[in-house]
């Protein structure tokens, strides 16, 4: 068995000889490779020496990057939301500065330099060539420009350079949707392609500015400059112009956005309106808001402290990131699930006596009406918001089917809107609880999940999206803020396609009619009574009132006469119209309100009113009209009048 013997002994002598052969072969291969390398150098240095020598002596041409102009952002009618305006900044060419530290110290005495300026400058300098001009301080004031001009002779290599900076003409109105750009910082430099961002000082930080950064940025061009021995430009030989970024058109109409903000009257909250036929967002507001222009060229410490310490949190985008208990607003969705799963027929009734008790448990669950609503079928249960009906439905459905159905409306997950940072909210489920608690799922938790209480938390965007999906007969669309783009060179904006993200959630079309009837009844005879008065189309809706505080906590004030009543609840309203052929769906939340229908209902109605106004006044809303000047709608609130500052006095208790 020679194999076995070979395996059990190490043949050291043979190994050594084998190694020597390999080492010699390896060395010969190395010499061969070096020969190849030398022959390449021979090719460059001898065969083509003359050509390269000429190119070397004539080498006086240096490229200089020209940053692209950032794409502009318009509303659906071409009203400018994000603009580029000329400004001046200080730039330094490190190559011409013998002692950078001394220069920065001296320069700081003429033009104040912040630590942020210095950090960003040093990082960018390290990533640039020495003869590249690096921005040091942005958005110089007139005063700074003058003072530098007088002292310019002391600072060779430093120059005041014009550039385009971002401006948001409507200020707070679109601060959360459009977002803002800010100066490229050290983390960005690690992330961004240095070739694409040569000469660029700003990058999208939040909102659409961030989500569509790649589209908005454009492509830098360059010019070839002929320079003398000192590196000074003698003439520009060739210019490859930059490609400006692509312009964006929102599906939001400025007037609707304004009306939605005005409807809040400064009270903290948020609202989202979506076209159920295509997922286009028609309004998306979070109150209060802030002026995004403050952030573009670096916000001052005082301004920043004021914004971050404001109790109403103006920097928080409530529509996207505010998660609140949804209360009864989930009931229409749950009812639809009952029909779709075949757990309920529309005519099935439940007796509501005022309380619902699980067998064998002492703790019971209340109805809102003392004594109950009597015998209710599905339509009536939605109209009256009868808790007992939905307690029982949730129990029959079971938590697994309940959460699986609700997740199809994006509850507990991302809606997929074209913004980053969406909050997930909470969709009650076994899995969700298992991740946070060792205790198992209790039947009582299923019961209260049926009325949107317990673990539930949804964002206004999620509810608006769910309402739009329901209104659109179950056809799901990803919510989209940007409706069209216009690349440089395009004459007209190109509509962005937004096909349905999946098949309809509703299997039986007749199911939809039942829910629609129930939500119509809410407006004609239920909690939303009166909301349709004076509106030409039928509205269908549902209110939701969730407690902000536990009933046992001190913050829950039982004195119904005090101002606390008005601030005790999260007030929700969701609705769509026209009920027979829905074209707009909306959801609104007030962080502190008394009742959903009474407080949040009028906000949704005002959004619908403005939408109606625009149906009559402008061209078909599917086509953007970028060049049309905007007739000022009567009674609209100008941006300066937004009650942003006064919100705290009007809103909370």
């Amino acid at each position: 068995m020679p194999m076995k013997i070979r395996r059990s002994f190490k043949d050291t002598r043979g190994e050594s000889a084998l190694f020597q052969r390999r080492a010699v072969v390896g060395f010969l291969l190395i010499l061969l490779s070096f020969g190849l390398l030398v022959s390449r150098f021979h090719f460059l240095q001898v065969t083509h020496h003359d050509e390269f020598a000429t190119r070397s002596t004539n080498n006086s041409v240096k490229p200089r990057a020209i940053p692209p102009a950032r794409g502009l952002i318009y509303d659906r009618n071409g009203v400018l939301l994000a603009d580029n305006v000329p400004a001046f900044r200080l730039e330094v060419v490190p190559d011409k500065v013998p002692d950078m530290q001394a220069l920065l110290t001296e320069l700081g005495k003429v033009v104040p330099l912040g630590q942020d300026d210095l950090d960003a400058f040093k990082k960018q300098q390290a990533q640039s060539r020495r003869f590249d001009s690096v921005p040091l301080k942005l958005h110089l004031t007139e005063d700074e420009i003058d003072r530098f001009a007088v002292n310019r002779w002391r600072f060779p290599g430093v120059d005041v350079v014009p550039y385009l900076t971002r401006h948001y003409p409507l200020g707070p109105l679109f601060a959360h949707v459009v977002g803002y750009v800010s100066r490229i910082d050290t983390d960005d430099l690690d992330r961004l392609d240095p070739d694409e961002y040569k000469g660029t000082s700003h990058v999208g930080r939040t909102g659409l500015e961030r989500y569509y950064e790649d589209v908005l940025h454009g492509k830098p061009g360059y010019e070839l400059d002929e320079v003398n021995a000192d590196g000074r430009i003698q003439q520009v030989l060739k210019t490859i112009p930059p490609t400006p970024g692509t312009n964006l058109y929102l599906s939001i109409d400025v007037r609707m956005q304004k009306a939605a903000v005005a409807a809040f009257e400064g009270r903290p909250g948020a609202a989202v309106a979506i076209d159920p036929r295509n997922g286009q967002v028609l309004a998306m507001v979070s109150v209060p808001s802030f002026d995004p222009n403050l952030f573009v060229n670096g916000i001052g410490r005082a301004d920043y402290t004021a914004l971050t310490t404001d109790v109403d949190k103006p920097l928080l985008d409530r529509a996207l990131k505010g998660a609140y208990p949804p209360g009864s607003t989930v009931k229409p969705f749950l009812a639809l699930g009952g029909l779709e799963y075949g757990i309920r027929r529309p005519e099935d009734t439940v007796l509501s006596t005022g309380q619902f008790c699980l067998p064998g448990q002492t703790r019971c669950y209340r109805d809102d009406t003392r004594g109950g609503d009597g015998t209710v079928n599905m339509v009536r249960a939605i109209e009256k918001s009868t808790n007992t009906y939905f307690y029982r439905l949730a129990l029959d459905m079971g938590i697994d089917r309940l959460s699986s159905w609700m997740s199809r409306f994006s509850f507990g997950g991302k809606t997929g809107i074209d913004l980053t940072g969406e909050a997930d909210g909470i969709l009650p489920s076994r899995e969700w609880k298992a991740k946070r608690s060792k205790q198992g799922w209790f039947p009582g938790e299923t019961v209260i999940a049926g009325i949107g209480q317990g673990y539930w938390a949804v964002t206004p965007l999620q509810l608006g999206h769910a309402m739009a999906t329901l209104a659109g007969h179950g056809m799901p669309y990803l919510p989209r803020l940007v409706m069209a783009t216009r690349a440089s060179g395009d004459a007209r904006p190109q509509m962005l396609a937004n096909p349905p993200s999946g098949p309809s959630l509703i299997q039986k079309p007749s199911d939809w009619n039942v829910i629609n009837e129930g939500m119509r009844a809410v407006i004609t005879g239920g909690t939303g009574k009166g909301l349709n008065d004076g509106f030409p189309y039928p509205i269908a809706g549902k209110s939701g009132t969730a407690e902000r505080f536990s009933r046992t906590s001190d913050a829950y004030d039982t004195n119904k006469n005090s101002a606390h009543l008005a601030a005790r609840h999260r007030a929700w309203f969701e609705a769509y119209t026209p009920a027979d052929d829905p074209k707009i769906a909306a959801a609104a939340v007030l962080e502190a309100g008394a009742w959903g229908a009474k407080d949040a209902g009028p906000i949704v109605r005002k959004i619908f009113d403005t939408w109606l106004l625009m149906q009559g006044s402008t061209a078909p809303s599917d086509t953007p009209l970028p060049y049309q000047s905007l007739p000022a709608p009567a009674g609209s609130v100008s941006v300066e009048d937004q009650p942003v500052e006064s919100s705290s006095s009007e809103g909370g208790p």
């Binding site: 390896g26 070096f34 390398l37 690690d190």
Partner: protein
């Protein structure tokens, strides 16, 4: 207690200095190379004494480590090997985890100092492969080859992910050379090379966009005159205009007028070529070839399989530095971050190279006795 330790330390240091266990030809070649490196750096940095003295300080530190490590017998190194390998790979994992979401994150901050764990692998990788193959039946068969392949692949994948293609290449090469020197059958190597070749389209898919751009730019430098294309064009002008005998010391116009980027680090060899011409290039390459040859000679004289494979792999990976950097400067290979050993400024590479040579010196000192 402390006294005896001090005395021992003194004795140890005296031994290092008075009876260094070094290979004289290799040491002389390294000193010559270091001097060439400093002279070139002086010219390429516009006579910056602070850069030259900084580099000299690194050489001194490296030399001290070289002398220290030359006293550690290879058998002791062999015992440490798996732990050193595991520790350096663990550092890579830590960097990968901490560096989440950011760009090129290769540094580990230990509070007092920052270092690149990938630099350690340049040494621990060939050590580990040699350690694994040492007790085994050679030439290796598929099973052992597969294990070695895994030992190489894990850290290399982590380094590629950082992303640091240059270092990944050096680390992978060091491991592969140990396998080659162990006598792995040619037909097996052929199969693996063919398989790796077949993987290239797949690997292309996993490269970062900027890495792809570098390869594409090599094929058509004029397409990217602002970025990598600029490097390649200007570097070739520097090399080509140097001619047979060069423009002379401190006469490199390409570097002096700042047409050549990174002329003290990755592209310093272009400055050298411009100033000293083809004659200088051949001279320097002969010096490098001598050093590699001497390393292989030391390897052949080594006492056991571990020392043989380690010494040989270290010597041959030195070749990769020279070939990749030279090829890049001459526009033959894509722009990857591989320095010209002992000539390029900065980084920890000079120190880690000298530590590697310390291991070689130790292997030399413990060579086979000729009867």
């Amino acid at each position: 207690m402390i006294d005896t330790m001090t005395i021992r330390l003194q004795r140890f240091l005296r031994r290092i200095l008075t009876r260094p266990r070094i290979d004289l030809p290799l040491a002389m070649a390294l000193i010559l190379l270091a001097m060439v490196g400093l002279v070139t750096l002086y010219s390429a940095s516009d006579s910056s004494l602070s850069m030259v003295s900084g580099q000299a300080a690194r050489f001194v530190l490296g030399a001290a480590l070289l002398l220290l490590i030359s006293r550690i017998p290879p058998s002791v190194l062999r015992n440490w090997t798996p732990w050193l390998y595991l520790a350096s790979t663990a550092f890579l994992v830590i960097v990968a985890v901490l560096g989440e979401g950011r760009g090129a994150n290769r540094w580990l901050n230990l509070g007092v100092m920052r270092f690149q764990p990938s630099e350690l692998l340049k040494l621990t990788m060939p050590m580990m492969v040699a350690w694994y193959l040492h007790p085994r039946q050679l030439p290796p068969r598929w099973k052992d080859i597969a294990v070695v392949g895994l030992l190489i692949a894990v850290p290399v994948a982590l380094i590629v992910k950082q992303p640091d293609l240059g270092t990944a290449l050096l680390v992978a090469a060091a491991g592969a050379f140990a396998l080659f020197l162990s006598g792995m059958a040619w037909w097996r190597m052929g199969l693996i090379v063919a398989a790796v070749g077949g993987m290239i389209p797949v690997a292309w898919h996993f490269l970062h966009q900027y890495q792809r751009d570098r390869v594409l730019t090599l094929l058509n430098p004029e397409s990217d005159p602002l970025g990598n294309g600029w490097h390649i064009i200007q570097s070739q002008i520097a090399v080509g205009s140097g001619g047979m005998y060069g423009k002379g010391f401190q006469q490199s116009t390409q570097s002096r007028l700042d047409f050549l980027p990174e002329h003290t680090t990755d592209f310093i060899f272009a400055v050298f070529s411009e100033e000293f011409g083809l004659v200088g290039v051949i001279g320097l390459i002969v010096l490098y070839a001598f050093i590699i040859g001497r390393c292989l000679w030391i390897a052949m004289e080594a006492r056991d399989t571990y020392s043989r494979l380690l010494a040989g792999a270290l010597g041959m990976s030195f070749f990769v530095y020279v070939f990749v950097n030279g090829g890049m400067v001459a526009g033959m290979l894509p722009v990857v971050g591989v320095p010209m050993p002992m000539v390029s400024y900065g980084g920890t590479s000079a120190v880690s190279l000298l530590v590697g040579f310390g291991v070689l010196m130790s292997i030399h000192a413990n060579r086979k006795m000729h009867e």
